[in-house]
Amino acid sequence: MRIKHLTLALAAAGMVATQAHAQTEIQWWHSMGGALGEALNGLADKFNASQKEYKVVATFKGSYPESMTAAIAAFRAGNAPHLLQVFEVGTATMMAAKGAIVPVATVMHDAKEPFDPKAYLPTVTGYYTDLKGNMLSFPFNSSTVMFYINKDAFKKAGLDPNKAPKTWKEVVAAAEKLKASGSACPYTTSWPSWTHIENFSAWHNIPIGTKQNGMGGLDTVFTINSPLHVRHIALLGDMAKKGLFIYAGRTNQGDAKFSSGECAMFTGSAGAQAGIKKAAKFDWSINFIPYYDDVKGAPQNSIIGGASVWIMGGKKPEEYKGVAKFMAFLSRPEIQMEWHTTTGYVPITRASYELTRKSGYYDKNPGADMPVKELTLHNPTENSKGLRFGNFVQGRTVIEEELEEVFSGKKDAKTALDEAVKRGNEILRQFEAANK
């Protein structure tokens, strides 16, 4: 009897083992730490529970540049993951690596998974789509830049807390009143290049670079020293000099300055909402980013930041089938809604946006739909679809270095932006030569 039980148990164990073996594993490297990482693991678990053939194994590989570096090293050594989450500035590098990646559109088509590029928000997919309309990578976590105000500070300064400044002129006026009321930091920003160069350009429908912001070819050059760019950066430099704008740093340092109550106005990622909700001990609101009302066509629409999922090349066909299934799973409206509402990233399909609205989430969380509204304010133009510049990690550093020279009063805006264009173009030429 006992022996029989044992054999049965062994046989059962053997079956479980073979079943586990039959599952095709899909490796997914990502950069979502903390609460975001938990939400991502939740998606993978849900997918794994929904079917038996494939198993998505999500692995946290550090910050965006770190996981990209790790994947590049793994690719060179011949064991890249199937899926890799890459931040938006790495897009051109990934796209140029033709032998290393497979377009999402191709994988979906080969696996005969239903796939309609039109189902996705154009400002989100535009960033990751080639000129022929093929979606190259899967937009996973997308945010955009928003304008936040501290309503309590507005009240204290005698400003109407329900009327957030709409134009830069109004921002300056509000900042002056805030300063007069004793605010040590009327305005600050996170992500200076993304906000004040990249999104600023899209919002005012002016190009960041030639060739449709680099999407039309590697022979693009930066155009961020236009009169409007110079005007805006000069304004910020002037605000910095007067103590109306306090520079916080190159990444998201501005977030803490706002949520701690130190700064009264703030431009930062839509993803900053979660942190502000948690930390802020004051009343605040989320708004569209300011613009110059004398510029024709402004405001246009803002562009995204965040990351997309790239499918790496050289894997087995059945593995790609699993990848396609997973991408289809991620596009489902209810899955998108879950990701959108838990993380604050924007929903990537129209259907999921509708679903979230119908669920009443936006009524309970006023402002949560502002990012989508800002991204889709108008149909994107060549200037507001996104951007694609090679070696843009270096390019952004150059822009940020030059902006800092303006904010610290060492250079005037024109000189700094001319220099940024000159240095940035050298980097673009280097990338062009390496990827001919």
Partner: protein, 293 residues
Amino acid sequence: MEKRVVFRSAWLPYLLVAPQIAITLVFFFWPAAQAVWYSFHLQDAFGLKTQFVGLQNFAFLFRDGKYLASFKVTALFSVLVAFAGIAISLLLAAMADRVLKGALAYKTLLIWPYAVAPAVAGVLWAFMLAPSIGIVTFVLKKVGIDWNWIIHGDQAMLLVVVAAVWKQISYNFLFFLAGLQSIPKSLIEAAAIDGAGPGRRFWTIVFPLLSPTTFFLLVVNSVYAFFDTFGVIDATTEGGPGQATNILVYKVYHDGVKAADLGGSSAQSVILMFIVITLTVIQFRFVEKKVQY
């Protein structure tokens, strides 16, 4: 009677040093050779296309005015780190050497920071000196200093120098303390009997006798400042504001590891390698003459 050990075997000595040589070859010479190879090539991030471009990577660097400017930043940073690191640890070692009670506790505490990784040291100081929440910042603001290294380049430089020096002091301290303890007490006592005060005794007896240690530490600290400090910079200023703390080795790291530009990064590391080789040669040729063994 001869006390030295003499190897009669022809191969045994080579066998004994072989592991060390193998490690040096694999971990030092091979990567260095690779850096030289990459510096003459242009490659995309994934290594799919490689082309020989001769000196183009170097030409690209020297066309960039900012790269040339970062030589100045590096020189300032290295001099500050090496000089401050050596001076402070010499002072601490001289003091610790005189302590009678609880000497072990002092010494242990002084050696402690050496176990801290450069990036952690950077974060630690960045926290204490953070522009809006730092505890030191709070005190500085009370006394009327506008402390914000996010925007003031000189303060950013001060921050990274402090973090880099703090981490290196322990190492220097160990060597100085050992050096001090090997100086015969009789020499110092004799001087004291002749009426020389502590200061006089230090500069005329102790300091010259310590010169081999000081020279060794000068070389080690320069190499440290040139090569090992990118962790401190990366965790704090990331080279900014502007280019105020963009030292050569940080740009190597940023371009190579973060931006996946291997050719450009390798060209920079080759240049850096030559600078340090030249500096070391100069130190051995000219500074070493002043050393009394």
